[in-house]
């Protein structure tokens, strides 16, 4: 121990803190990161400039970015204020929208994977349910809202139902495709080993289908985020969708623009989170 600490201290004092080989690697890594970050920033700046020029003249119906920032500065700097009722910071609106999405999406994930397994495993279920799913999945999310309001009689569960019904189709369909694509060889292995239902499910079917499931989950989470904003515009309450609608009713165009930016960023982050979980769950799994 003491010897190790000693050599560490020496090299630290003598050679500087970074080992020589690390420096070129850091530089290369920095270059790669810059190559990814710089172009979007450049184009963003260009877009903002065009927007600024286009909307700066008097009587423009939309505010230029500079005015958006100055109009909404209090919202940007303090997203956490809570003055009761609907008068809350953007964080709270986003949080309650996300809460609805989390609930609706969780229901969609559980039910969707279960139905996907059923449809993928059983030819009868596939023949019977697939045509029905194919029709239902084309129904636009908001078209479900009046029906769910009629059935559930409350705004909150209706919104969650709309999220679930929106996200569920790609989850079902992708899970089913994944299961139908399990190579015959894997099934044969499990038959030779005489794996029982649960063993087959956990050791073969699930790992073989996980990449497909996450494709479905990723599409599903994107759709739920699309649907929640629209649904909240109609049902009201706290939520980013309602915030946008409220801003429109008060002609606060800058607030709408700010909210749209947040909606886009949150949707992007949701997508990335699901993709990361998918990668993590499949581990170093190969595609084949």
């Amino acid at each position: 121990m003491t010897i190790k600490a000693d050599t560490f201290a020496k090299s630290g004092l003598g050679e500087g803190l970074l080992p020589a080989s690390l420096v070129p690697r850091l530089v290369a890594g920095g270059k790669a990161a810059a190559a990814r970050v710089v172009p979007p920033l450049l184009f963003l700046a260009l877009l903002l400039a065009i927007w600024e020029i286009a909307c700066s003249r008097a009587g423009s119906p939309l505010p230029p970015p500079s005015k958006v920032v100055s109009d909404t500065w209090t919202l940007i700097v303090d997203p956490f204020f809570d003055k009761g009722g609907m008068n809350k910071g953007l964080f709270w609106h986003l949080a309650s929208s996300l809460k609805r999405v989390a609930m609706g999406f969780s229901i969609a994930a559980v039910v969707g994977i279960a139905l996907g397994v059923l449809v993928g495993q059983s030819t009868l279920a596939f023949r019977g349910l697939d045509p029905i799913f194919q029709v239902f999945r084309t129904v636009p999310p908001l078209a479900w809202l009046p029906l769910s309001l009629a059935a559930l009689r409350q705004a909150e569960p209706s919104a969650i139902f709309v999220i679930a019904i929106t996200a569920i189709w790609p989850i079902i369909l992708n899970t089913a495709v994944g299961i139908r694509n399990i190579p015959q060889d894997y099934r044969n292995i499990s038959r030779v080993l005489q794996l029982n239902g649960a063993e087959y499910f956990f050791k073969i079917m699930l790992p073989a289908t996980v990449p497909f499931m996450f494709t479905g989950l990723k599409i599903g989470v994107g759709l739920s985020w699309l649907a929640i904003v629209a649904a909240e515009m109609l049902i009201g309450g706290v939520g980013i969708g309602f915030f946008i609608w409220d801003a429109w009713n008060s002609s606060l165009i800058s607030e709408i623009i700010l909210a749209l930016i947040y909606v886009g960023l949150v949707g992007f982050i949701l997508d990335r989170i699901i993709a990361m979980i998918g990668k993590w769950v499949s581990g170093g799994m190969s595609a084949g």
């Binding site: 060889d185 044969n188 030779v192 005489q194 794996l195 050791k203 073989a208 499949s282």
Partner: protein, 266 residues
Amino acid sequence: MSAYLSISGVGVTFSGQNGPYVAVRDINLNVAKGEFISIIGHSGCGKSTVLNVVAGLNRATTGGVILGSTEVTSPGPDRAVVFQNHSLLPWLTVYDNVKLAVDKVHGKSKSAAERDAWVRHNLALVGMDNALEKRPHEISGGMKQRVGIARALAMEPKVLLLDEPFGALDALTRATLQDTVMELHAKLDNTVIMITHDVDEAVLLSDRVVMMTNGPAATIGEILDVRLPHPRDRLKLAGEPEYARCRQAIMEFLYARHRAPKAHAA
């Protein structure tokens, strides 16, 4: 002959879109314990169909298979199969692929430590004990087949079924794997049925070579005894008259009397 494995009157008819398709018929074969049998025939003649009946993966339409003293009705680890395509599970390491089989087959009879040792032992038999933590996509095709063989051996099957195990490999890899299979057979004295379409492979490895006629309704055309002593050395065999005789007999069967039908010839 003491029949350890007996295939009697096996026929398989598939129900296709154009009505029933008789793939194979009247397959009769008795295999002795410790015997190495090759089945050779043109592509699509029904070799896999027969092997899968023995494995229990296909049901025979007529006839049946008796192994030891029990009739084969379903797949089981006493008839371990090595498939042509890498049937390793890609999300498991080499070790875990074999461990899955060992845990399932020997879960009750061996302790955890014994099972671990048994996995390592079987991977060492095929020379894969230095790649335990590798995933299937990180190793070559030949290595995958080695792991597949280790997994099958680890089940301690009564009969080992190999379905063109080296079909997808290059000639050199193929030769080293053939040597490995020969060594293992000499060491473990297991009963093996191997499908191949390679004449030299069949002669080199087998005690008997089963030659199948072309489908539809394929059956066993001829059975050749390979009267060469074990262990065999591929270099010395080339000059042996018996080797030449066997080779000649198979070639004649496949290319003179039962040429590949035009539709299948590629």
